[in-house]
Subunit: 145 residues, 2 copies
């Protein structure tokens, strides 16, 4: 089980938009080249980021731009934007526990709060990290090459 690569691809895309955006038009084709991901998938991810108010794109003209300051975009925003987890939550209960068994009909309730706390711990960590930090690290690593 792994969280969809669309999440890390989205971070990659946003980092490219910031780093290359000043010098050139950052098209889905260019992003496909940098990420190694199919251009249509890139456009799908950009569409999700646009729906979340993170980037701006326009038909025809080409070139994506950030819609917010780097330090106003958290990894959690991106994680939510690309739908890493659905409404059911990160953990998954089996559908058919036996309602005639006292454990079967209550185990869900007994675990729910604790699993939600674990999921919240993950998400809080993502909320505390901004794209500004990731981009700064990326620039530093590039400069040190």
């Amino acid at each position: 089980m792994q969280i969809t690569s669309k999440f890390t691809v989205a971070v990659h895309i946003l980092t490219c938009i910031d780093i290359f955006g000043g010098q050139m038009r950052v098209t889905s084709d260019f992003l496909s080249g940098s990420t190694g991901v199919n251009a249509v998938i890139v456009r799908n991810v950009l569409g999700q980021l646009r729906a979340a108010g993170i980037v701006e794109t326009r038909q025809g003209s080409g070139g994506a731009h950030l819609a917010k300051a780097l330090d106003e975009i958290t990894l959690y925003d991106i994680y939510k934007a690309v739908d890493c987890v659905d409404d059911e939550g990160l953990f998954h209960f089996h559908e058919n526990p036996n309602a005639d068994c006292p454990v079967g009909r209550n185990i869900h309730k007994a675990m729910d709060g604790r699993l939600a706390a674990a999921q919240a711990a993950l998400e809080n960590e993502l909320k505390s990290t901004t794209l500004a930090q990731v981009v700064a690290d990326t620039r530093r690593i590039i400069d040190e090459e």
Copy 2:
């Protein structure tokens, strides 16, 4: 994306073993009935829990038993036992970033530590919860019915 239901099923199974183990033989067939999960799957999960030293089972005789005290089994132990995540980690990088692009060849390094921190936050929360707590909650909910 969701963490495999084998995890919550394993917790369900262990809870049953504790609650019903005193009165009856808790076989894979019985556990299949309570969880709604196929008996072969139950035996697979029991096999993983046995490999992790959490339960004891024996061919022929039937009936699973806990190999440790309830408060010595954390949700993290179970999560690891049933292989919720592989060695690559919870997050997933795309395979083919472009090594000719400065972002492409460095983004992995720039994100790694932060993603590991997020995963660790989740796992630490699971480590802080024991099966004893889940079973106690389950018994309380049953008593209140």
